[in-house]
Structure formats: structure tokens, C-alpha cells
């Protein structure tokens, strides 16, 4: 099988860094031993949790099912933390079919073509934890719907003061004088029930649910979202261009969860895939 080694060896020969996605402890140690012998490459670990106690670690906000999203997030995180440089070649080892690492992909880090998927979490006004909880909530809502029927929802996260000034109430705010934060287990149930209401949820930087039932009225000039998406997506996209908020939208028609920042779609996930 020496021939195969030669051919597949091209995948990882001369890489500047090796990125391990959620490796097991023993797997990681084999790499650290290798790194000690010759330090030609950088070793970094990407995952939802730093189980192996790696020195260079990029945290994934959720276990992306889509491999390219997963790798792109890891790459942009590593670029952002200056672990790797623009133009570096990486060997990304990740798992596709089993829980263990079974796939190696050779990727070139390109700072120009970044999608901002890392910025969505790490560089938003809202806390990364809050963005993560809202995204998880939207995904869960997309999976289960409201009493079995598909629902749509629009969450505007962060910069709540400005968002409130660029929107108006459609009816009485059920969250008036309440102090509930996303991430509390009881709140998920509340938000699911309230998802029947029309309008947007407004959530503050620290995760406080400021209001439901908001009609967003940003100017929609220059918002570029794919044609065919409805008013909910347009409103969500437009408010992120006018303010520093991000919008997480669950589509009622196709059931996908999309995240907007600065007027652009950053992330698209299918709740059914989780």
C-alpha cells in the first residue's frame, strides 16, 4: 500500500498547521508527541469544548453538521486569533461518518474570502453565549415547530436600545417589566408559545428579552438578500444593516435558520440536520 501513502500524502505534505476537530485525548497526544519531535507545523484544536486541554484552541459555538461550515469557522477563528497567517495551508482532520476522526481535508486560509461566520459569534455586540442560545432556540423551534405546525420566528439580538428606537409595538409587550434571559430553561417554553405572535423578539446584549411583538421599521435600502425570501427575512436583514444587532430568522416556509449581520446572510443551517 506504499503507493497509496504517496498519493494521499499530498494531502498533508508541507502543511503549515494541523487542525484537529474535536479529537479524542489519545489521538491528540499522538499529535503533540509528533509536534515535539519536529516543530514544522502548528497544532490547533477546534471543538465545542476543550476536552484535551490544548494550548491553542478555537471554540465552536455549535457542532456544525455541515463540514464546510465547521472548517470555515475553525479557519476564521484561527486567523482571528493569529494562530495561522493568511495564505497558510492547513490539514483539517475531522469526523464525518463516525464519532472518531475519519477525514482529512487540505485547506488554504484566505483572509479575503472570509464569510464572517466567526465574527457572528465572537465579534457581535451580544455575548457569544447569548448568540449561541438564541441560535439553538431557533434550531429547536425549527425542529419541533409549534404544536407540530411549522412556525417562523425573528430574533434581533444585541444593540437593543437602537433596535427599540427603530421599531414600534404591534400590541402590548408580554415581556414588559419582566426579567427573563435567554438560556433559562423556562424561557425556551415561553418563547415557543410566544412564537405564535407576529413581529420580532428583541434581545439585549446580555440576553434579556426586551420585547416581543415588535414591528421593525429600518430602511431596507441596499439590503441584499436572495430573492424569494419573505418579509421576515427582509426585516431581519435590514435591521442588522441599520444597527449593530444581529438577526436570527427561522423561516416558516422552508424551515431553515438563517443568521444576518450587517445586512448580509452569514449562516444558513437546516434544523432537521441536528
Amino acid at each position: 500500500m506504499a503507493g497509496l501513502d504517496d498519493v494521499f500524502g499530498d494531502l498533508f505534505s508541507g502543511v503549515d498547521a494541523v487542525a484537529l476537530f474535536s479529537p479524542s485525548g489519545s489521538y491528540y497526544e499522538r499529535f503533540t508527541d509528533l509536534e515535539d519531535e519536529d516543530d514544522d507545523f502548528e497544532l490547533l484544536v477546534v471543538g465545542t469544548e476543550n476536552d484535551v486541554g490544548a494550548d491553542t484552541f478555537v471554540e465552536l459555538p455549535l457542532e456544525f453538521d455541515n463540514i464546510s461550515d465547521r472548517i470555515r469557522f475553525g479557519l476564521e477563528g484561527a486567523l482571528d486569533q493569529d494562530i495561522i497567517d493568511d495564505g497558510d495551508t492547513l490539514a483539517c482532520a475531522t469526523s464525518v461518518f463516525s464519532d472518531d476522526i475519519d477525514t482529512v481535508s487540505r485547506v488554504r486560509a484566505d483572509a479575503d474570502s472570509r464569510t464572517g461566520i466567526y465574527d457572528l459569534f465572537a465579534r457581535s455586540r451580544a455575548d457569544p453565549e447569548v448568540v449561541k442560545s438564541v441560535l439553538e432556540l431557533a434550531i429547536e423551534l425549527g425542529q419541533k415547530g409549534q404544536k407540530g405546525k411549522p412556525v417562523g420566528a425573528l430574533f434581533v439580538v444585541g444593540d437593543a436600545g437602537k433596535v427599540m428606537n427603530k421599531s414600534r409595538p404591534l400590541s402590548y409587550n408580554p415581556f414588559e417589566k419582566s426579567h427573563v434571559h435567554v438560556g433559562d430553561p423556562i424561557v425556551d417554553v415561553m418563547l415557543k408559545e410566544f412564537s405564535r405572535l407576529d413581529g420580532a423578539f428583541v434581545i439585549s446584549d446580555a440576553g434579556k428579552i426586551v420585547s416581543a411583538y415588535r414591528y421593525l421599521e429600518p430602511s431596507a435600502e441596499g439590503v441584499d438578500i436572495p430573492k424569494g425570501l419573505g418579509a421576515r427575512h427582509m426585516a431581519g436583514g435590514a435591521i442588522t444593516r441599520d444597527t449593530n444587532a444581529i438577526a436570527i430568522v427561522l423561516s416558516e416556509s422552508d424551515g431553515l435558520v438563517r443568521a444576518f449581520k450587517a445586512g448580509e446572510i452569514i449562516l444558513e443551517v437546516d434544523p432537521e440536520a441536528y
Partner: protein, 254 residues
Amino acid sequence: MDWQTLIDEPAVIATAVLILGVVIGYLVGRLNEELLTASGVPEAVEGTPFERTAQSLGTSTVEIVARLSAWFIYGIAVLTAIHIAQLLDTDAFWLRVTEFIPQVFVAVLVMIVGFIVADKSELVVSEYLRSVKLPEVAVIPKVVKYTVLYVALIIALGQIGVHILALLILLAVYAAGVVVVGTYAFQDFLVSSAAGIYLLLNQPYGIGDRVRVGDQTGIVQEVDLFVTKIEDDSEEYIVPNRKVFEDGIVRIRE
């Protein structure tokens, strides 16, 4: 020799007492072990250094406490037997011993509980502080641990009649110091949080309102227990809630 004389023989009674003591002691030990296990003590003490030491010696905290109660009863039985058999006939000695044994028992128990509570509180506090990534913070769990141990030691020593006045004074000075320094250091926080409770309950202003506090004008972005975050076009002011009350707040309506 008939039964009556046999029963009157002190040595026989003493032996009976001894056997009874062993049986009761064993039963109490087992009962204690069952009770402690049923009430979830093994889970509560899991991971504390005391438990780990006990484990490495091939035993456990529950077993130690249960054995202790058993040995306590064995001890009483042996002493009673000795008394009945009149091997040692000194009333003064007897009096001292009966008073002293329970106290020693309680003192040992207090020390064991003290060790476990100290270890456990150290664990809880360090777990709570884990998100604080500051090396110096590691000293706080240790302080908590040794404070609990110190209090346990004072109680235990008090039990067996050692003079503990000096230790008590030291504890009082220490506690007063903590309270005084604590209130002085946290007075701003206390005042701010009192104001914050009012702001959160009554919401005189909410997120999105345009307000002026002192010289700062802007849109309210966040209100929490201690601070209010106000933002204008380029600057974000983080105003302590104390200041909101001192300066008053102006809501601006266009």
C-alpha cells in the same frame, strides 16, 4: 450451684453486659452506615480530600463514622463490665471517665464533620470561581477551608474542656475584620444594588428610552443590578445605579 447464684456472680453479669454491648455496638454501627448511605452522605462527600484519604486507606467516610459510633458503644460496654466486675474500684475515676468519653466522641465527630464541610466548601467555592481566570483567586477557597476548620477545631476543643478563650477572641477579631473590610469595600456595590432593585422592579426607564443622567445623554442599552449602560452615537457610558439615584434621571421625549 443453681441459676440464682450464677446470675448473682459479678463476672457473669459483666460478661453478659460485654456481649450485649458488642451486639448493640455492632447493630448501631450497621444502622448508622445504612442511615448515612440512605441519606446521600456518600454523594455529598465525594471528591473531598478527606474522603479520598479514607478511600486510599481502604475505607470511607461513612464507614469511619459508623465504626466510631460502634467503638463508642464497645467502650461503654467494656467500662461498664469492668465496673460491674469490680476490677477497678475507684468511683472518682469512674465519674471522670463517664463524663469524658461522650465529649471525646462528640469532639472527634465534630472534627470529622469539620474536615468534610471544609473540604466540601473549598470545592464549591473553587468551582464557583472557576470562570474567574485570575491566579490569585485560588487563595479564596483555601481561606474558606481553613476558616471552617478553625471553627470546627474551636468547637471540638471546647467539647473536651480545653480553654479556648484566646482562640475565640482571634476568631471574633477575624470575623469583625472580614465584615468591616467587606462592607467598606462593597458599600458602593450595596448602594448600587439597592438602587438597581428599585430600577428593575419599577422600571422608571427601559431599554430604548433616551435619557440623561448627570452630563451623559444617550439611549439606554442595558439595565442590570449594578449598572445602567447608556449609549450615544460614539460612546457608551456605564453608569453605576447609585449615580442614577443621586443625580436623578431625565427622560427625553422628542
